[in-house]
Amino acid sequence: MTKFIIRRVIQALPVIWLITVVSFLLMQQAPGGPQAVFNQNPHITPEQVDAWLQRWCLVRNADILQTIQEYLGWLGVYNCTGGGFLSSQGLPNFLPAFLGGGTNGVIHGDFGFSISSGQPVLSLIAQRLPATAILMGTAWILWVVIATLAGVLAAVKRYSLIDQVITILSYVFYSLPTFWLGLILIFIFGVELRLFPAQGIINVRTSPAPFGTDAYWHALFANPWPQLVDIGQHLVLPVTTLIAVSVAGDSRFVRSAMLESLSQDYVRTARAKGLPGRTVIFRHAFRNALLPIVTNIALEIAFLFGGAIATETVFSYPGMGLLFYDGVNERDYFLLMGILLIASLFIVFMNLVADVLYVMVDPRIKYD
């Protein structure tokens, strides 16, 4: 098993490297270059821009070699403050700082500074991470539970009224654009019925401090219930929006996996033995249908990321998706590169988890 995991990690390395190249090139090729945003700011002198550019190995109108240098500087292999591939201590720059390597670049945890806010990219992302984790975690759990229940129910009661209803609903929801569903939900439940709040993650007027600050976390731990209820109310509409489309797609998937499993010989044998229907369905059919379902669950986390950006922008929910949207608006290159890289690494990791789970769940697969 360890061997399998190690081999899988080694396979992922070129992909991770390519991801850094793509993240960098996407930003590098953008018109104007990273310094373009400074041109509109009268308070920044050209000298300051030059100093800033040099800090990141950036050159105006870079040729191919200089572009590679910029990339290596961003990556952390190249020392931008003189010294080339060697750090200020004369050792290879890519080594960790405590071994005498450099401190710049993403491999040393330095994602640069956000151009629009001046804060380090990593701390900006860290501030937004809890909100996104809450949203995506809740959505993920509900998604898996609802999709599985609906799919199994539809498969067991095949061609019944309930199967038809689930099928029609999943067709309809699968076709709805996520962001439009969010708009309509805001209109119905937020504006007309006033049942749920439609914006943000907490009620700004009643909360003790802005979300994500230390003061807020202290208040949350001191007296959790009012804050948790507040967050819960704010989550209803975004989570519904986020999972409606995916649940629709996945319940179809579970249904077909379950139908496949129900038509197998061992299910007929179990029935012939006189086992109760419930046992046949859950111990025999469902356990074998789980295999494709489990891997699918881990894989579609990538899909949630895409949905999160749509949901968060529509609901002004202060997560990473909204941060990314703001970054695109402000042309905040380092922020965008940072989020792209971190989100992609997370997805690569989840793919790995899916592969390992697949091998672990299915006893028929031999790994060595």
Partner: protein, 315 residues
């Protein structure tokens, strides 16, 4: 080159006129239908697919003729208008928006751009995906490895993030760059499918036979293997078209897509967020319904195609 055609079952041929020599005439008399004719027959029997085809056909007709027949100009802003827009009425079927533009005209004209983006980005994705997948699957080895790692990267980077960045920086306000962006970012799914089919079909008997009589690699790829792999590819292409129509709407909704004077369904939605709080639901409802209906229709068609093109399903 008649021999390989006889080797591969006539079922796998595209069955156009002038396709195949005299041998096929005998077969036609016996079997009477090619695989594609059978697929079409199965497709017609799929009720949902027929509904989908009707809706989608209607959308295409609307995209072509709608703007000619419709009395209103979608970007015409009248001098006098009701603040907040008129609710739906006989004069304005879907109401008007805050500056007095007719929402019905926006929906009708929006079909043009949304359907164009969907169809052409699908074609680009299909062509690139098939080429990459075919090369990777047929050549194999290092080429396959490199191409598939690139595909892995596409699957790892959150699609929507890249779409947003690319639309904002490279495509903003222009139709053709947007089509290229959507098309060139959505092919990896197809190339994975095609590669998998090629890997399994590469060793199939009819390919071996074709190779044995000296058919060129190019011809084997496109004449012998590809037709067998086409079913899943076509289904995947319908999915891509549906998702790209939604994506264009989202990108335009965020303001990174087309400009105000180019009406698409997403653009019609772009100012809906701020005004929904005033209770003017018709701004957001009708363009969104147009998107949802189109996507639903395409999904129905995709489902029908999946059943029809599956050679295991029989009439």
């Amino acid at each position: 080159m008649a021999l390989p055609d006889m080797q591969s079952p006539s079922a796998l041929q595209l069955g156009g006129p002038g396709d195949g020599a005299g041998t096929e005439d005998v077969e036609v008399a016996l079997e009477s239908l090619s695989q594609w004719q059978l697929a079409w027959r199965r497709f017609k029997l799929h009720r949902l697919a027929a509904v989908g085809l009707c809706i989608f056909g209607f959308m295409v007709l609307m995209a072509i003729f709608g703007p000619i027949l419709d009395p209103y100009d979608p970007i015409f802003i009248p001098n006098a208008h009701v603040p907040g827009g008129d609710p739906p009425s006989l004069a304005h079927l879907f109401g008007t928006d805050d500056v007095g533009r007719d929402v019905f005209a926006m929906v009708v004209n929006g079909a043009r751009i949304s359907v164009t983006i969907g169809v052409f980005s699908m074609l680009i994705a299909g062509i690139v995906g098939v080429l990459v997948g075919a090369v990777a699957g047929y050549v194999g080895g290092l080429v396959d490895n490199v191409l598939m790692r690139i595909v892995d990267v596409f699957f790892a980077i959150p699609f929507l993030f890249v779409i947003l960045v690319a639309s904002r920086f490279f495509g903003q306000g222009q139709l053709i760059p947007l089509i290229l962006i959507f098309g060139l970012l959505s092919w990896p799914l197809i190339s994975r499918l095609v590669r998998a089919m090629f890997l399994s079909l590469r060793e199939a008997d009819f390919v071996e036979a074709a190779r044995a009589v000296g058919v060129s690699d190019f011809r084997i790829t496109f004449r012998h293997i590809l037709p067998s792999a086409l079913g899943p590819v076509i289904v995947a292409m319908t999915l891509i078209m549906a998702s790209n129509i939604v994506l264009e709407a989202f990108v335009s909704f965020l303001g990174f897509g087309l400009t105000e004077d180019q009406t698409s369904w997403g653009n019609a939605l772009s100012n809906a967020q701020t005004v929904l709080s005033q209770g003017n639901w018709w701004w957001a409802f009708f363009p969104g319904m147009a998107i949802a209906l189109t996507v639903l229709a395409i999904n129905f068609i995709g489902d029908g195609l999946r059943d029809a093109l599956d050679p295991r399903s029989r009439l």
